[in-house]
């Protein structure tokens, strides 16, 4: 008796915060969180809040996949689903696993199709999605190329002005790819595709940054909500104007192609009613918010991974068609979206775990992408792997020719509608970068370092923050 009380009194005195509890481990290793009698490793749910996990989540997802395919996290009151097959099954079952009520994004991203299910979702999604795929997208590629070229051309001026992100030294230019290209490029593309005037792009960039930093209940939530309101106010003015006077998109020769997205949405009917202005603006805000951070991460991670695997970079430079493979393998290896929450509509039993209706289920796309059951040697970046489908992504199927696609865009009815446009942005932008930069390499000494102070920091559950490159001029 006295022993157990003494023991409790001692535990009450220690006040270890998660970061003290879980030391930073070398990449690929997990903190020992104890073992059950049969040797099964235990998971302390506090790890999921720790710095160690944010830096290097993959070893922990591996434990979850191998031992707890459906992990009931009683601290966060949710269930983590980590295997590829389970996640894709849940994503396809739109009725059994609904996306409402989510909360983490609402208020900042607004009432959008992210939170719809079933038929309402299908109808509205197709309204917006059709402008981001197929022929409408093909028509936009020349302007995407033009935007990329403009941004790269501006480097000369920035270097001459003494910018801290780009500098020239003895015929070698050093550039921070995020500040000088990747951060802003996706936003410019979205503005261009949506047909917003050029002078609004700076505002959009600010609104977009505020919205992103306000997600997830962070300190800047209010700033995010305000930015979204300003964005909506601005878009609302444009929508009202377009209702009276539709505007057109033009090709490079100045011939009209079609009405722009907003003008088209203004004359669209759902169930016999025109779309309300609020509905248009909130979904435009979603396109702006959804198209930025993810594509930025894609460009940054793509270049970081390729330049750290020189043989594969050489293969891409030798054959431009390999950019598509590299893009998909990068998204499998280090995507910038971790997963999606779902709520199960009914009581279910998965892998022997009973999940009551209405529970929060975290579908971990990161983990699905590294599932050994699907991808051989998943920790290795290899653009030539034969078990990854890297063709055109289809909502209806994720297994083509006996191989699986990565999960970075999700699958099923909520498959990212920006998958195709972000693919084009990353690949078109990268091709142009590759053409402009001679013999590019990473300035490793300027890159963030891992705990050993020598090797580069792992990408973790976000993309590389800064990417310092140098290349030969002339």
């Amino acid at each position: 008796m006295s022993s157990i009380v003494d023991q409790l009194a001692e535990t009450s005195a220690d006040s270890g915060t998660p970061n003290e509890l879980f030391p930073l481990m070398p990449e690929g290793q997990a903190v020992d969180m104890g073992r059950a009698e049969d040797g099964t490793p235990l998971i302390d749910p506090r790890i999921l809040d720790s710095l160690e996990f944010f830096r290097n989540p993959y070893p922990y997802y591996r434990i979850l996949r191998d031992h707890y395919p459906v992990y009931h996290d009683k601290l966060h009151n949710c269930y983590w689903v980590t295997r590829y097959d389970d996640i894709s099954e849940c994503y396809f079952d739109d009725e059994g696993f609904n996306t409402i009520p989510k909360g983490s994004s609402s208020g900042v991203l607004g009432n959008t199709q992210l939170e719809l299910s079933g038929i309402e979702h299908r109808r509205r999604r197709n309204l917006y999605g059709q402008h981001l795929v197929g022929k409408s997208l093909q028509n936009r590629i020349p302007s995407i190329e033009r935007l990329a070229q403009e941004m790269i051309a501006a480097w000369d001026q920035a270097a001459a002005d003494g910018s801290s992100y780009v500098s020239d030294d003895k015929g070698v230019r050093t550039v921070e790819l995020g500040q000088m290209f990747a951060n802003e490029f996706p936003i410019r593309v979205v503005c261009e595709v949506l047909g917003f005037p050029k002078e609004a792009q700076a505002d959009f960039y600010y609104w977009y940054n505020s919205m992103m930093s306000g997600l997830g209940g962070s300190d800047t939530h209010k700033q995010g909500v305000e930015a979204r309101q300003h964005l909506e106010d601005y878009v609302e003015g444009i929508v009202e104007a377009r209702r009276k006077q539709p505007t057109y998109l033009y090709d490079e020769q100045g011939n009209p192609l079609s009405k722009d997205i907003i003008s088209k949405l203004c004359e669209t009917k759902v169930d016999g009613d025109f779309l309300s202005t609020e509905e248009i603006t909130s979904n435009i805000a979603l396109i702006v918010g959804g198209g930025g951070e993810t594509t930025r991460g894609a460009i940054m991670n793509l270049w970081a991974l390729l330049l750290r695997h020189p043989d594969q970079f050489a293969a891409v430079m030798a054959d431009e068609s390999n950019w598509d493979r590299a893009f998909h393998e990068m998204l499998r290896h280090s995507s910038s979206i971790g997963g999606q929450p779902r709520h199960n509509t009914f009581d279910i039993e998965m892998h022997g775990v009973h999940v009551p209706a209405g529970s929060l289920m975290q579908m971990v796309d990161f983990s699905a992408n590294h599932d050994e059951r699907i991808f051989k040697d998943p920790e290795t970046f290899n653009i030539f792997r034969d078990d990854l489908y890297s063709g055109k992504l289809l909502r209806s199927g994720y297994r083509k020719d006996g191989v699986c696609s990565h999960m970075a865009f999700g699958v099923g009815p909520h498959l990212c509608p920006g998958a195709w446009i972000s693919h084009q942005e990353a690949v078109v932008g990268s091709k142009i970068l590759a053409a402009q930069m001679k013999n590019p390499r990473i300035r490793e000494e300027k890159m963030p370092k891992d705990i050993d102070g020598v090797s580069p920091a792992p990408m973790g559950i976000i993309s590389v923050r800064d990417l310092w490159l140098e290349f030969d001029l002339g």
């Binding site: 157990i4 409790l8 009450s12 749910p45 009725e95 038929i119 939530h221 009914f346």
Partner: protein
């Protein structure tokens, strides 16, 4: 699919297949989205992050975070923990008394062991044995523990008294043999802690439940042959559905029973008395005032911070639509410090004029005054007067037991004061466990 599904033609001709095999009653579809769109632009909840509610700061002192919720977000949607937090007095007490719409789930549900035995704690004969045994042994157990401390000349009220008292009492209520008691205390405590989110504690809890069953097996057989007036004898003599009472049923009953409120209220009462000398002077003058000190303790520093209630069906309350099965976190700690109800709620005042001094009825209000919300004691009595054939409510039993034990302490130990240099605090061992004092060194 064909046999278990109902095809429904949508308005545009798309056939929606509803897999009714997943549904419990076969009829329920998924909800449309409109009803959930309650979070509007501008309703930002930036003053608090959901992670603060499971943080270490919350574990040590939950009151600042709860005040933010209470004053800004009275029904806070915690999307991280998939729950709804209620923090105002009227809201919490209304959900606590609304059994038509909300339910409390047994500890075995949190354990994922709902099939583990039967809970016999509500049977009249068990309640009677519990109440009578408590009355019979409370004073002698308190005297025994107080004597032990007096002989040492110093001691730790939290460890040597508050933590031991409920378990020593329980051992006598179960009439456990002397030799088995130490093992029982440890196993019982581990079983109670197994409800936790911590994997070690969960595993340990499952093992402890098995140990409790082994421990009770010979006792159940013996008491069936020769019953006494203890709780196990009362249980084995019951005739309940599903066959004779087994050791598993006894273990389940012990799991659902609670030592935490008795332990926590004793420790918190003495913590507050020793750190508020003026109030201590008041309380030690009279037994009646000691009772008021206990009531004020349960208001000011309730050991069980919150209880989870679950919506039985979709309910529209607090300006929100709570879906079926919604987890509603009813925070007693926040409600008890609601300035709408209590003046200067953060002050510890023995004999408050704005608090009910009798056992509350039904809705935690009697005499038109609110009382401190205390969980772990069941509901306050709904009977205007307790019938002769029923024992007093747990609320009353716990109150009287704590007051008796405290009176014994005063008699036996005389002048008690904090040991010099001691800086006791209230804390929880892990997030979600009871909030109480674990180290309270004293000198007589």
């Amino acid at each position: 699919m064909a046999d278990s599904s109902t095809p429904i033609a949508g308005r545009n001709g798309v056939v929606v297949v509803k897999p009714s095999s997943r549904s419990r009653d076969g009829e329920k579809g998924f909800r449309t989205y409109e009803v959930h769109q309650r979070e509007r632009v501008g309703q930002s909840t930036e003053k608090i992050k959901p992670i603060q509610l499971i943080s270490d700061e919350y574990r040590l002192d939950p009151y600042p975070a709860l005040a933010i919720l209470r004053e800004n977000y009275p029904c806070y949607r915690d999307w991280l923990g998939n729950s709804y937090w209620l923090t105002r007095y009227d809201d919490v007490s209304s959900v606590f008394s609304d059994d038509a719409n909300f339910e409390t789930r047994p500890k075995a549900w949190y354990y994922d062991r709902e099939d583990f035995g039967r809970d016999l704690g509500g049977e009249l004969s068990v309640l009677t044995a519990d109440a009578e045994g408590t009355d019979a042994y409370a004073t002698s157990v308190a005297e025994m523990l107080a004597d032990g401390m007096r002989n040492n000349g110093e001691g730790d009220l939290a460890r040597d008294f508050a933590a031991r008292f409920p378990l020593e009492l329980l051992a006598r209520l179960l009439d456990l043999p002397e030799a088995a008691r130490e093992n029982f205390f440890a196993a019982y405590w581990r079983a109670q802690r197994g409800v936790s989110w911590m994997p070690e504690l969960q595993q340990d809890g499952h093992r402890a439940l098995a140990e409790l069953v082994d421990m009770f097996t010979p006792l159940v057989e013996a008491r069936r042959q020769a019953p006494g007036d203890d709780m196990i004898s009362a249980m084995v003599q019951l005739e309940v559905d599903g066959g004779p009472v087994t050791a598993t049923d006894v273990a389940r009953t012990m799991l659902e029973r609670d030592h935490e409120t008795l332990h926590g209220s004793l420790a918190n009462l003495w913590y507050l008395l020793l750190t508020h000398p003026l109030e201590f002077e008041k309380a030690r003058a009279e037994r009646r005032l000691m009772k008021l000190a206990y009531l004020e303790t349960m208001r000011h520093s309730t050991p069980v911070l919150c209880v989870h209630r679950f919506a039985r069906q979709e309910v529209e309350r607090f300006g929100r639509l709570l879906p079926e099965g919604a987890r509603v976190v009813c925070s007693a700690a926040a409600a008890n410090r609601d300035p709408r109800i209590f003046n200067d709620p953060d002050a510890f005042v023995v004999g408050r004029r704005d608090m009910c001094h009798r056992e509350p009825r039904g809705q935690y209000r009697a005499d038109g005054l609110a009382s401190g919300i205390a969980f772990g004691l069941g509901k306050p009595s709904v009977h205007p007067a307790v019938p002769e054939d029923r024992p007093r409510s747990r609320y009353a039993i716990n109150r009287d037991t704590v007051v008796d034990a405290s009176t014994v302490l005063l008699e036996k130990l005389g002048d008690i004061a904090l040991a010099p240099g001691a800086e006791p605090i209230l804390t929880a061992l892990t997030v979600g466990e009871m909030h109480t004092c674990w180290q309270l060194p004293v000198r007589m």
